[in-house]
Amino acid sequence: MPHDHPHDHLSPSGHPFRTDNDTPLSYFQTMEIAVRELLIEKGVLTPAEIATQIEVMDGRSPANGAAVVARAWSDPAFKARLLEDAGAASREMGFDIGPLNLIAVENTAETHNLVVCTLCSCYPRNLLGLPPDWYKTRAYRSRAVKEPRSVLREFGLDLPESTQLRVHDSTADMRYIVLPARPEGTSDMDESELAKLVTRDAMIGAGLPRAPGG
């Protein structure tokens, strides 16, 4: 009877149980632990300070960026300040983005913007939180500068040839947020309603904002 217990490896929800992380630590995991313990031992940092910083970073989310985008859609003067200095405009809204140097790039009828970091995983974490896993993959990082339109089609976005695509490679000190075009049919929506239309992928340029009621 080859299939006496076919579901032993599945949880009650029908999914496989996650295996325990019993593999040995990698070189860099070991180094991170060693450096962290040394910093604590020498009194440079306390465990509580480290935990607080992790909580602060985990508290950042794409909702912060969505609020910035919605403000720009609602307030032309704010939008002008955002395009002039996105870091200052984000701080003006009360977001603690630390030393982040941020540039906002605007999608228009003629231009679509896409953000990548080909060298590593640079991302406006201090505003949007941690990047999605796909953003850090070699496939995305190499293909976004070579065949970005094919990548966008896989995300469900088929750009017309008449739209110029600008790919922003975050190679050094700046980070980027895409200011998507405000969707049609949203003229009676307020800022908080607009913010709900702004997805993380739309602020990377890998997607468009949601349609109202969609």
């Binding site: 140097n101 600008r166 190679t171």
Partner: protein, 91 residues
């Protein structure tokens, strides 16, 4: 658009922030970003000098030639001044 520049085709060892796919390629300065500490020194905890940083715009045609997906699309990247050489502006 701004000045025409070419990214130097150097291949030094160590931590650099000029991606290999842009080395030797010609683009235009999109904007100047001001001076930042040189990451090639910062990465090794050396005293770092300030270097001017520029956003440079490259066409897909320049980067990928006949293999370009859409030749008039562009890549914009941040390149430090010591990686750039000025070129005479096209007529």
């Amino acid at each position: 658009m701004g000045e025409r520049v070419r990214v130097k085709a150097m291949m030094p060892p160590g931590h650099v922030r000029a991606p290999a796919y842009l080395r030797g390629k010609t683009g235009e300065i999109e904007r100047s970003l001001g001076a930042f500490k040189n990451p090639e020194q910062l990465a090794y905890a050396l005293p770092a000098s300030h270097k001017n940083l520029y956003r440079v715009r490259f066409t897909m045609a320049e980067l990928w030639g006949a293999a370009a997906e859409t030749p008039q699309d562009v890549v914009e990247a941040e390149i430090y001044e010591h990686w750039l050489e000025r070129l005479p502006n096209a007529p």
